[in-house]
């Protein structure tokens, strides 16, 4: 059994994907070819925003978003401590200071109560300028945007939605990638919508942000790439990856339904035995991960292993526990929920081609 069965998906989509790749080889426009524009249009339509701008990977997407919001040294940017490293890394990469926030025990997402507490603290200390909140749609579940948006308004902060795992999720019909001022996603192969290498995208309704992003990703270009009007970077989605994503996006709604069916089956079989993930009313998860919580994690994982079921820990180390951030001076006691989650979470196999009957029988 595979933790994420990308091979099954390829077998299913093989003919279409192979044809798409062949078409790119025929026209030879490997950089910013027509498939890139086509994909961006379809992504924007799917998410329900005005602009989708693709880039080289999900980390670059966050960096580009921070460049647009002019996040820099002296700025405080709030983000969850229980997340993938890139969320906090990109804040530090801009020479700003990540202010880490504890998690909600049921959804694993950013805790709005702790968020507001930390904003107030930064303001009262007066050393850093509160600039933005990076809200992560962890494991596929959109963060608590109704609460986070209200807090951002109150303190005049920008919101970056880190939808690296959230693409496909919804709150009351509104899709992930459309919350906040600017949103990012990743097309890393294991993501709900993944390509066959590295890739990413940024979503926004703001025309100025979109124009800036299109310049930043090609060396801060003006009229062409030799007219450099600002410092940018090189961050483009390869045409071949865009071609692959076009076919995978077409299959995505079906896969999303399959993932939700699988999650429901897991819930039925496992509720009561472990703490199962909570999906609040009106929310839809893209189930990037199906994550359980239990004090006896290691024993349970070992048991699954003997039965041939792969399980993985996302995440075993919080941001406040990382060597790279030890200078921030945090301790576990400040993040009781996240620190406990890091000790107790483990994720089960999840993908769009999962034969769940076989699993739940276990």
């Amino acid at each position: 059994m595979q933790f994420i069965d990308l091979a099954a998906q390829y077998q299913y989509l093989k003919a279409k994907i192979d044809t798409r790749i062949q078409r790119v080889l025929d026209h030879g426009q490997y950089i910013m070819g027509p498939e890139v524009g086509e994909l961006e249009e379809q992504l924007a339509n799917y998410v329900g925003v005005k602009h989708a701008i693709t880039c080289a990977n999900g980390t670059d997407a966050l960096t580009l978003a921070m460049m647009v919001l002019d996040v820099k040294q002296g700025d405080a940017v709030f983000c969850p401590t229980f997340t993938f490293f890139a969320t906090a890394e990109t804040i530090a990469f801009q020479h700003a200071t990540p202010i880490l926030v504890d998690s909600d025990a049921a959804t694993f997402n950013l805790c709005p109560v702790d968020l507001e507490r930390r904003i107030i603290k930064v303001i009262s200390e007066g050393k850093l300028k509160p600039k933005a909140i990076v809200a992560v749609d962890l494991f596929g579940l959109p963060a608590d945007y109704p609460a986070i948006v209200a807090i951002a308004k109150k303190y005049d902060l920008k919101i970056i939605e880190d939808a690296a795992q959230g693409f496909g999720g919804e709150i009351n019909g509104q899709r992930a990638g459309s919350f906040g001022d600017i949103a990012t996603t990743s097309f890393f192969p294991a993501k709900p919508l993944g390509c066959y290498g590295d890739g990413g995208a940024i979503f926004t309704n703001n025309d100025d942000y979109a124009a800036l992003l299109r310049s930043y990703r090609v060396h801060g270009k003006g009229s062409d790439k030799y007219d450099n009007v600002r410092i940018g970077m090189n961050s483009r989605l390869d045409t071949i990856q865009a071609a692959i994503l076009l076919e995978k996006l077409a299959a995505f709604p079906d896969e999303l339904r399959q993932r939700n069916r699988a999650a429901k089956n897991y819930e039925t079989a496992l509720a009561g035995r472990y703490q199962t993930p909570v999906t609040p009313d009106g929310y839809l998860s893209s189930w990037a991960q199906y994550t359980l919580v239990d004090e006896n994690r290691d024993a349970i994982m070992a048991d699954y292993k003997t039965k041939g079921v792969p399980t993985v820990i996302y995440y075993g180390t919080c941001m406040h526990q990382q060597t790279a951030f030890k200078d921030l001076g945090y301790s576990d006691t400040e993040f009781p929920v996240a620190s406990r989650l890091a000790r107790q979470v483990f994720s089960l196999p999840m993908h769009g081609y999962l034969e769940v009957d076989q699993l739940t029988a276990l």
Partner: protein
């Protein structure tokens, strides 16, 4: 007959079929990040560049940033950059938080002006310097620059995006560099079917740091010791490059022949055609002509355009002349040879397997434009 500036669709026989097979294989096993193809490519690159280590990454710009950050170049550091290069060289320095000092270029070969370089080091004592090996060769003074930097504690990064396959004193130009970089942008001499790049060094610590930085500063499965970023070469691209590299000698030969054809047939027309310095065997990256007579340059460019012949101007503007560069640079050292190259340079079509009919067409159009003038 129209002639493109570059045509990336002239594949060697069997290359595409073999790559398609690899794509199916990699897709069926979901081997998209790292893996055997990337490892094989990096091994080949160490051999071809005569370096102990090769670290692949997402693109040539990231490669320069990785090299600078591996050297711990960052905030409050001054870094020399050539005034004539692609913007990425300048940009990478700013992106690591350092401050560029531009140094003039040498009109004779497009490389760094040695006198200005030495003046800049003495005046500003920079932590590092980036030089760019443009056009498929390096500066005639490469060994002096390397020796001078090591004697004066200037960390030298060599941007070799355009010089893969170039020989300097009969060895790979990348050999003997403290740390160097390349780009696998499709139009490059060793080009991928998308973006890619690599860092070369024989210093184990630098290689380790570059590799770690390119993978989020990761130190263990869940541990991150450094703030890095994400910069990886896709396995699909590594697979393509592993095939392309087999044909590299043929491609280089074809490119050199094309450039040579222009040189043979376009003499005495008012176009100063630049040769690689004597110490080099070029890789045929491009043909370089400088046309001092602006009228003549415009006439030739108009004739090329009206005949649907592609051409380039590498590069149309010096770093110090870019709209925003003044805000970031500390100073400029030397004269304005870079600007002179930028305003006079023209590059005619050069790519592997360009036909003799295409080359003759270009020569005829340029010649008749010159005669008309």
């Amino acid at each position: 007959m129209s002639v493109p500036f570059i045509d990336l669709k002239r594949f060697e026989e069997g290359l595409l079929e073999r790559w398609n097979e690899k794509v199916s294989q990699l897709s069926a096993t979901a081997s998209f990040i790292g893996g055997a193809e990337v490892a094989q490519l990096e091994e080949t690159l160490t051999q071809l560049t005569d370096n102990k280590f090769a670290v692949s990454c997402a693109n040539g710009t990231d490669a320069i940033q990785l090299a600078l950050r591996a050297l711990d170049v960052g905030r409050d550091d001054l870094v020399l950059v050539p005034n004539m290069t692609f913007w990425a060289t300048f940009e990478a320095v700013v992106n690591v938080g350092a401050t560029p000092v531009t140094v003039d270029s040498d009109l004779s070969d497009g490389g760094i002006d040695l006198a200005a370089f030495i003046e800049a080091v003495e005046k500003y004592r920079p932590k590092a310097a980036v030089i760019a090996h443009l056009y498929g060769w390096g500066t005639a003074n490469l060994q002096q620059v390397r020796d001078y930097c090591s004697a004066n504690n200037v960390l030298l990064v060599e941007d070799g995006a355009q010089c893969f396959g170039t020989q300097y004193n009969n060895e790979s130009i990348y050999k003997g560099a403290l740390i160097s970089t390349t780009s696998f942008y499709p139009a490059k001499v060793l080009g991928a079917a998308g973006d890619g790049g690599a860092v070369f060094t024989s210093d184990e610590l630098l290689a380790q740091r570059a590799r770690q930085l390119a993978n989020h500063g990761r130190t263990s499965h869940y541990g991150y010791g450094l703030v890095g970023w994400n910069s990886r070469l896709d396995s699909l691209q590594a697979a393509y490059l592993n095939l392309a590299v087999e044909f590299l000698p043929h491609r280089i030969e074809s490119r050199i022949q094309a450039a040579q054809f222009y040189k043979t047939h376009l003499g005495n027309l008012g176009i100063n055609q630049i040769d690689a310095p004597a110490e080099y065997v070029e890789n045929g990256y491009c043909h370089v002509g400088l046309i001092d007579n602006i009228d003549l340059k415009q006439t030739i460019e108009a004739a090329l355009k009206s005949n649907n012949i592609g051409f380039g101007n590498i590069y149309p503007g010096a770093m110090s002349e870019q709209e925003c560069s003044k805000r970031y640079m500390h100073a400029h050292v030397g004269g304005n040879q870079a600007q002179q190259i930028c305003s006079t340079v023209i590059n005619l079509p050069v790519f592997p397997y360009i036909t003799s009919a295409e080359l003759s067409t270009v020569v005829d159009v340029v010649k008749s434009a010159c005669e008309e003038k």
